[in-house]
């Protein structure tokens, strides 16, 4: 309760300072929307040409794509800026200040650095998700809605956990952003298409090592009734929330070890 109250204070102040530069604020959001719209367009052109990718139609691929950007957008609003800036904060000793407050360091970092640009992600994600549900005639039963929400929660937890873990690397190695870029951006690109089109190695990597597959591919099988696409075991379709919770717990554990490893700076 205290945290919710405190967070609303921080958000208010964040918005107040950001809205001093109104143009930049809305441009940040707009640019995010445009960037992803262009990617949608690329997908549409390709699928217009080939009709399907291994039996996946345009709207099915879009649905897949959506689960990814929606969950990435939600966790990005909260975790992306803090984890990006962590490296600098650890290097210049600014992290000291975080450790002298009566709030846990991770929530405090999140409170301090909201990232409004990802609102664009989220808006676009919600919009195109509704579009997909319509076009694919997905049944909106109560059970389906609950399932979708649980999948989104799980997917957001997976995205957040991976952001936290890549951020933690800063406590051990200086200049770790290239690593986090590789993991967050380059590997995540595989998620734009069904996991089943890749070779066994990539499938294994994105299921067991960095379980990105649980963000969109596995749950999509459930919603889109793609029995023919099952990889490893069919039960993975229900695994998103569990994988999300486990991975998040792991990331929190790594985080607390990392914080105790913090060496501060000279002064």
């Amino acid at each position: 309760m205290h945290y919710i109250q405190l967070y609303s204070r921080f958000i208010l102040i964040y918005l107040k300072t950001r809205l001093e530069y109104r143009f930049a604020f809305f441009m940040d959001i707009l640019i995010q929307i445009i960037t992803f719209f262009v990617m949608f367009l690329g997908l549409w052109i390709m699928l217009n040409h080939f009709q399907t990718i291994r039996g996946w139609t345009f709207y099915e691929v879009l649905f897949l794509y959506n689960l990814n950007i929606l969950s990435h957008g939600i966790s990005g609003m909260f975790f992306m800026s803090p984890m990006r800036q962590l490296e600098a904060m650890v290097q210049n000793g600014e992290f000291d200040g975080i450790l002298t407050r009566p709030i846990n360091p991770l929530p405090l970092l999140i409170f301090k650095q909201f990232q409004h640009a990802y609102i664009g992600h989220v808006l676009l994600g919600i919009g195109s998700l509704i579009l997909c549900i319509n076009k694919l005639n997905l049944e909106l039963s109560g059970l389906n809605i609950v399932m979708l929400i649980l999948v989104l929660i799980g997917a957001t937890l997976i995205q957040s956990a991976i952001m936290i873990m890549t951020g933690c690397v800063s406590f051990w190695f200086v200049k770790a952003t290239s690593l986090s870029n590789t993991i967050i951006y380059d590997l995540r690109r595989f998620l734009n298409y069904p996991l089943s089109i890749y070779n066994k190695f990539i499938q294994f990597l994105l299921t067991f090592v960095i379980p990105y597959g649980f963000i969109n591919f596995y749950p999509s099988l459930l919603f889109l009734n793609k029995e023919g696409e099952v990889l490893f075991t069919a039960s993975f379709q229900y695994g998103t929330l569990i994988v999300g919770l486990l991975l998040y717990m792991l990331s929190i554990t790594i985080w607390s070890v990392a914080v105790n490893k913090y060496q501060s700076t000279g002064s």
Binding site: I13, T17, T100, Q263, S267
Partner: protein
């Protein structure tokens, strides 16, 4: 039981050794070697409630590292710190409510928002009750003159204003202990004085314990009831300030500018009969170094004035860094000193 208890505290840092040149860089990539630097080496002390303790030492002596362990930022390599019966790094959240922290070089406030908003955030973060908050703001505003800049964004404040705002923010939640890392660094005389008064007042009224590091001898003399001197990670002195000065800081320098240049040499020769340590002629001025225990400035001056007329003179007291430097050279010969 003492409020702060430090026992056999040690902190070691691990730093990679970087080899030179391109081949060195490639070697580092595969086989990295580390060096271990001991910043704080087996120190122990106790601090009681209501004390103002100056924690002194040259740069790199281990002052900040000790403070950071007491505050809960760093985890000790060996030994223990307990503050108000808590182990700081294990109980960060509760510990944080007992302490106030100000780092002179870095603000704890929010850069982009006005001071009042920053202070309000503190209120919510520390769950400060309304009346306590109002009372504190009133009191602090009075002593620190916060009125003049309370609606200004922190980034637009002068260093002195920022420091005052930082102090106020650190004390809003009525902490038992205040940690100050170089609170007067880079400030002008007036602000320094204001800040010292404030610290004294808080200490007197609230019995707040204060631990501060500084390089300013005035801070130490005007504030501290006790000093702990540390060098190379070890405690060199722990005791009251007058004893420290008597023992190590009793050298002063008088610089004299005589009316006639030709007096310089003869003056110097005359002074040899007095009990002074050293005389030097520099830029047509005579520098006399003496020990206050042996002779006082009046004796030297009256001797000189009886011999010749002078235009100007200055008396330069011993700087704390000089005191510490001398202590360190003496102690390294005699071994560790215990008071």
């Amino acid at each position: 039981m003492s409020l702060i208890s430090v026992n056999n505290l040690t902190k070691q840092f691990q730093r990679p050794i970087r080899q030179e040149g391109f081949t060195g860089a490639v070697k580092d990539l595969f086989h990295r070697q580390y060096e271990y630097k001991t910043a704080v080496n087996d120190i122990s002390f106790q601090i009681n409630q209501g004390e103002i303790v100056g924690y002194l030492g040259p740069n790199g002596a281990g002052k900040s590292t000790t403070i950071k362990m007491m505050v809960g930022i760093l985890v000790p390599t060996a030994g223990s710190v307990t503050v108000n019966e808590l182990i700081p790094y294990k109980n960060r959240k509760i510990h944080a409510k007992n302490i106030g922290v100000v780092f002179g070089q870095r603000t704890q406030l929010w850069w982009d928002i006005p001071v009042t908003e920053s202070l309000l955030l503190m209120k919510y973060m520390y769950k400060i009750p309304n009346d306590q908050y109002r009372k504190n703001i009133e009191l602090f505003s009075d002593i620190l003159d916060l009125h003049e800049f309370k609606n200004t964004a922190v980034r637009q404040l002068s260093l002195g204003q920022r420091m005052r705002a930082d102090l106020c923010a650190a004390l809003l939640h009525d902490p038992k202990i205040l940690f100050l890392d170089e609170p007067t660094i880079g400030l002008d005389v007036v602000v320094k004085e204001k800040i010292r008064e404030f610290i004294k007042e808080i200490n007197k009224v609230r019995q707040t314990t204060v631990v501060l590091t500084t390089h300013d001898m005035d801070d130490v003399e005007k504030l501290c009831s006790r000093v702990i001197v540390i060098d190379h990670g070890q405690i060199m002195y722990d005791g009251n300030i007058s004893h420290l000065k008597d023992k190590y800081g009793s050298d002063e320098i008088i610089t004299i500018e005589p009316e006639h240049n030709h007096d310089l040499i003869s003056l110097r020769d005359k002074l040899l009969s007095l009990n002074v340590m050293d005389t030097k002629i520099k830029d047509l001025k005579l520098q006399i170094t003496y020990n206050k225990g042996d002779i006082n400035s009046m004796q030297i001056l009256s001797k000189i004035m009886s011999e010749s007329s002078i235009i100007d003179f200055t008396i330069q007291p011993c700087e704390i860094d000089e005191v510490i430097r001398r202590m360190y050279t003496e102690n390294s010969l005699k071994g560790k000193l215990k008071i």
